[in-house]
Amino acid sequence: MVDEVRAGASGEAENTPTEPPRAGIAIHGGGAGDRIYSVVITVFALAVPALLLLIFAVVTNAAWPALKTFGFGFLTSSDWDPVNDVYGAAPALYGTLVSSFLALIIATPLALGVAIFLSEFAPPWLRRPVAFLVDLLAAIPSVVYGLWGIFVLIPILRSYVMPFLRDTLHLGATPFFSGPAYGPSMLAAGVILAIMILPYISAVSREVLMAVPRSQREAALALGATRWEMLWGAAIPFARSGIAGGVILGLGRALGETMAVTMVIGNRQEIAASLLAPGYTMASLIANQFTEATSDLNLSALMAVGFVLFVVTLIVNAGARWLVWRTSREAGI
């Protein structure tokens, strides 16, 4: 196969009217060609940082009027009043953080369980299908999750899960599960986000667990450890920071997720302690109000929300990549 490719490629070269590969000419002509080639691919590579810089500059510039007007109070004020042109993003910031952490709490144990299952315990014939199904979760578009959330998940949560949590388990006594069970709610957003980030966390965890050297595992087993003790004592400590990276990567996804959340969270500008009440997130605030912005400052305030989202996800993603990179480097040594 490789020979075919090589033959095909050199055959093409013979067809083009170029000089025969005399060494002197090849090196000489190659010098200019190689320089041009090198410049071209370097320019393409530089497009990536340039794009990121451009996005940052454009969003910061558009957000500047609102950031200048409201200052740090933008993050702590709950007013969002287009009539008086006063804006604060506290409910959206709160909703973004709470829904994302809720998603992490639900998704992390499941994702870790699946990763361990796939890397250690699954019978070989089950490995590929289960991995495929879990990976497929990441392929479903956000808007389809939202549609499913509105018509399937929310009715289930409202009729069964919320009354169960509040009344049967008596969690209604705590502020987190008190009050009437709205359908669209922080809880619905958390559950749908958990489903959406699960494949990311599990894929990274699976990879870092598989990167744990065999000798590490075999040493633990040879000392008489059970498979679980081998995992807990030898494999997981080795993969720890990579798994943390995967979780944080999932957090980054959850923080920025827009459509599905917008469709199930209820979009209410209020900070409610109860997870059964509706809320708002930064991304859904932008999605809902952008085309209806009434003034320049209103638009700039939405841009400022985008700016905060940009900065937060940038930090979270950079941190996650660094953790994953550190693990893979350690595994390499």
Binding site: V5, R6, I41, V48, G113, S142, W228, R253, N317
Partner: protein, 288 residues
């Protein structure tokens, strides 16, 4: 006495082992359930709402039953094609750079930033394209949507191209150089054709990802109830239509939303399966 103690300990250890092992089984079942649950409802509600008119008609106002999403399906293809014009060449070029200059400081930096870019919320891409294209033009357009989605393609295409170029066996490259091929000809004539199937996978994965994106299109492509193929005008897109129909109060439109979701999922899955097929042939080629 010591034997009794160790027997008890080993029983406890074996119990913990079995318990944790079965927990991971439960986790695997629980993690695959949502997917089956989503796909089941998509099929159940989507198939009953799907008909030929969905592929051939324009949307109807809510008072009129029937109608379809022909313009939205075509619109999605137009936006995705526009996005590829930006995303594919830049992504492949950057990917080749990363593969050929593996350890260079710039490569490490670009690789890191590509991953960071990959994690940026899609809605941020939307406001970026809005500010850069919609504001100067004065109106929404397919071009703005294509810019937002094209920017989202770049990191995915970059990283997969890099990986695929890297797995090309180095003897192949060395043989070409030894025969007097220059660096750039070796790259373009030998390495790239060998990695082509893999690069195609990367492009398809990126396409599958952006085809279903809604958030970046909300205030760029905006949507359109009529036929439009112009890059200069607002254009309909399937994800946008699903969103608008899903949050509407009309049962008719809800049915249309399910039908649209089924078509969208089918589109995404077909692209994903093509990508898998391409990878397989790519790896077979590289490892043979």
């Amino acid at each position: 006495m010591s034997t009794g103690l160790s027997a008890r300990t080993s029983l406890r250890r074996r119990f913990v082992n079995g318990f944790m092992l079965s927990l991971t089984w439960i986790a695997a079942v629980l993690a695959t359930l949502p997917l089956l649950f989503v796909l089941f409802y998509l099929l159940e509600k989507g198939v009953t709402s799907l008909n030929w008119a969905f592929f051939t008609h324009l949307p109807h106002p809510p008072s009129m039953p029937g109608g379809g999403a022909a313009n939205a399906i075509v619109g999605t293809l137009v936006i995705v094609a526009g996005a590829s014009v930006l995303g594919v060449p830049v992504g492949i070029g950057a990917g080749i750079y990363l593969a050929e200059r593996k350890g260079a400081p710039l490569a490490v930096f670009v690789r890191f930033l590509a991953d960071v870019l990959n994690g940026l919320p899609s809605i941020v891409m939307g406001i970026f394209a809005w500010e850069l294209v919609v504001v100067p033009m004065g109106h929404f357009s397919a071009l703005a949507g294509a810019l937002a989605l094209g920017a989202m393609m770049i990191p995915t295409v970059t990283r997969t191209t890099e990986e695929m170029v890297r797995v090309v066996p180095s003897p192949l490259r060395e043989a070409a150089l030894a025969l007097g091929y220059t660096q750039w000809r070796t790259s373009l004539r030998i390495v790239l054709p060998t990695a082509l199937a893999g690069i195609l996978t990367g492009v398809l994965v990126a396409l599958a990802r952006i085809a279903g994106e809604t958030a970046p299109l909300l205030f760029t492509a905006f949507g359109n109830d009529f036929w439009s193929l112009s890059m200069n005008q607002p254009i309909a897109a399937l994800p946008l239509q699903i969103f608008n129909y899903a949050i509407s109060p009309y049962d008719d439109w809800h049915a249309q939303a399910w039908a649209g979701a089924l078509v969208l999922i089918a589109l995404v899955l077909v692209i994903s399966l093509l990508a898998r097929a391409a990878t397989r042939s790519g790896f077979a080629r590289a490892s043979e």
